[in-house]
Symmetry: none
DNA sequence: AAAAATCTTGAAGGTATAATGAATTTCGCA
DNA sequence: TGCGAAATTCATTATACCTTCAAGATTTTT
């Protein structure tokens, strides 16, 4: 699974690395590990993890320093692990840009819960960003209901957008009439192919360069329709 | 009226409330306190704090319940304070939507550091959007809660402003009725679309050049509304 | 090549949704 | 407790959308 959250663990104790890797992998995360600060910084830059778990007691450089270096360019959530329990250490790390601080020894479940919190944060940040499907000069924002043709926006009705979104989400695939109808109109209208014809035409009118020779919304005669996108 | 970050403290022990209030006020924060869960929920809805500090051991309802109720409509950072140190309690609270968990007794400096972390999160969430939204002759200051039309200030009621602020913060995006209603009125009124119609009209009357041909607040029939800004 | 099936195209009526204006209730404040 | 502003509710008008239908074009079948 390539879209599973990716976690970078930076810790010099190999047992801890192994333990955390086992636990996180079991929960479905992708895990990368580093034993030294420099290595961790490099991996963070190349792999762009979703979360970084960082031990303060590294051999080559101070964890707070690693934290600060990371914050120069990334907002990725950082969870600190440390044997140091002093308030001073916690404040230093948190003010250096860390998002959370756990003192060793820590409970597995608590670590996982705090990872989930960090994940919530990073995904809510991503959620503000737009997820786009592109096809020629078309840009379809599935999240925010915005469709652009070049620079100008195309106004779509609710049903039109629902239909286009379903086509775009399955771009490249042939979708049967019944399949589309049940998804967009609901199972009750599964055999109202007239609806499809009317709406496909409206979409083509609004989106295609030449509606009579569609290049995005293709007809698969006797079967259904298909949406062609870039990439 | 100050724009200092606003923190809501929900705790039943009056000494703790007083202590936290003193410390936070000293650091320049605005502080509101509540001693019971229901009171806290109400204050959270009316005052819209930037951070909520919540004690788990409330007399009238469970802290985890308070957490869950808050998460129905707000993303505001929640820091848990609790005497309970068990892993089970921590996991329950964090999974209910809390962002951090401190066990009593806690260090003042650590609390402040974690408040700063929470503040970073809330401002970076807002920071993704511009704090000053301009649309034609309109200027909407999301931080100072000021709306100007040309040079003169527009007087808006509480609900009107909350609604406009939410639209402006998400300018360019299509927001569904339910989305707007849960954010502005709360999840209980998620299907009272009448409210929206009435308030959209009032906003248009106060903001639009020609309220009958709105250029800022657009209707997306069957879906919701959208605010158009410059750029 | 003719016929049949499928798809496209255009337009119109009915219906759900939105705008409007105003009355009523609630709430905050003195 | 009473006043005024704000929030909610309601009835009416206006609008946009979904649905429906019919005729022309295209593709497939025989």
């Amino acid at each position: 699974m390539s879209n599973a959250p990716h976690i970078l663990v930076i810790d010099d104790e190999s047992q801890i690395r192994r333990a955390i890797r086992t636990i996180l992998t079991e929960k479905g995360f992708r895990v990368t590990t580093a034993s030294r600060g420099e290595e961790g910084l490099t991996l963070a830059a190349t792999n762009e993890p979703d979360i970084i778990i960082l031990d303060l007691g590294l051999p080559d450089m101070d964890g707070v320093e690693v934290c600060a270096r990371l914050r120069e360019w990334t907002q990725c959530p950082i969870i600190i692990l440390s044997v140091r329990d002093s308030e001073h250490d916690k404040v230093a790390a948190l003010d250096a840009g860390a998002d959370d601080y756990l003192t060793k020894p820590f409970g597995i479940e608590e670590l996982l819960a705090r990872v989930r919190v960090a994940l919530r944060h990073s995904t809510s940040r991503q959620g503000a960003q737009t997820k786009l499907v592109k096809a020629g000069s078309l840009t379809i924002d599935l999240v925010w209901h915005i469709v652009k043709r070049g620079e100008e926006e195309v106004k779509l009705t609710g049903t039109e957008h629902k239909l286009l979104a379903y086509l775009a989400a399955n771009h490249g695939r042939v979708l049967t009439h019944q399949n589309i109808l049940t998804q967009v109109w609901g199972p009750a209208d599964a055999n109202h192919t007239e609806y499809l014809r009317v709406y496909m035409r409206q979409l083509r009118k609004k989106l295609e360069v030449d509606p009579e020779r569609p290049q995005y919304i293709l007809t698969e005669p006797g079967i259904g329709y298909r949406f062609i996108s870039d990439g």
